[in-house]
């Protein structure tokens, strides 16, 4: 039973790392590159990069804490697996909310 829980913890670690890596990749891909008269709108781009930095710091910090906490334990309870999946669900919404915030601030001139 202990071995199963240990393997589950390893799988959960790998799954969480993969999801978090994908989240950051998606956020970068959603950076808007708008062109006005053939040239890039740098104001919009830099604002979006600023908001991306906020999300990157937030996700990076959560990944770091997640890694620290999970490195400290050799096995996880089933309820922790469920909570971790809920955590990853909400975390996967970060790119969408980042895009929303980018769109909102782009309207501010």
């Amino acid at each position: 039973m202990g071995e199963i829980k240990k393997r589950m913890k390893d799988r959960l670690d790998a799954f969480s790392d993969a999801i978090i890596a994908i989240i950051i990749t998606v956020m970068v891909l959603e950076l808007p590159i708008e062109k006005i008269g053939g040239s890039v709108d740098y104001l919009v781009l830099f604002r979006a990069i600023g908001i991306y930095a906020v999300s990157f710091c937030f996700v990076g910090n959560l990944w770091y804490q997640h890694a620290q906490v999970f490195n400290d334990t050799e096995r996880v309870a089933n309820k922790t697996v469920v909570m971790d999946l809920i955590f990853l669900f909400f975390m996967s919404l970060v790119p969408t909310f980042t895009k929303l915030m980018t769109d909102d601030t782009s309207k501010l001139r």
Binding site: C57, N61, V76, M83, F90, D104
Partner: protein, 151 residues
């Protein structure tokens, strides 16, 4: 505001995960568990409170809130990595009997707790740099003397 709410939900869920892992790792009423709750997990509570204030602030001053949204994770990152290092080594110290934790860290005032953390961190750092076991013992006995003087 929505972003702040999502951040808050994530912090609360993560706080639950941390508590569950602490329960698995340490027995519920052990000293380590107590130290974990009163020293390490405290930062989460500060972050949660900060995000609640930020959500309200974001409604009226979105630009200021945006800057604070950057600062909080960075502050939290620095603070937590320091606290976590201290906790891991303190736990090991308790297990090996080098550190004797008072009956209840609940009784310590916030200032005493802060001083204890700082002293513990500097002792651990010095202990890591010790050349041999006798020097290590000397460093920890100095810490024990300091702790005794604080009573």
């Amino acid at each position: 505001m929505l972003y702040g709410t999502l951040s808050l939900i994530l912090l609360v869920v993560f706080r639950i995960i941390v508590s569950q892992i602490a329960e698995v790792k340490y027995s519920k009423h052990s000293k380590q568990h107590e130290v974990f709750n009163y020293i390490f997990a405290r930062n989460f509570n500060y972050s949660i409170a900060a995000y609640v204030i930020l959500i309200v602030l974001a409604f009226f001053f979105p630009r200021i809130a945006l800057v604070l949204f950057i600062i909080i994770p960075i502050w939290s990152f620095v603070e937590n990595s320091h606290e976590h290092g201290t906790l891991s080594l303190a736990t090991r110290g308790m297990e090996e009997g080098r550190i004797q934790v008072p009956e209840s860290v609940k009784n310590l005032s916030p200032d005493q707790r802060k001083a204890l953390r700082a002293k513990l961190a500097s002792t651990i750092k010095a202990s890591r740099g010790a050349k041999d076991e006798s020097q290590k013992r000397e460093i920890w006995s100095q810490f024990a003397e300091w702790a005794a003087d604080q009573r």
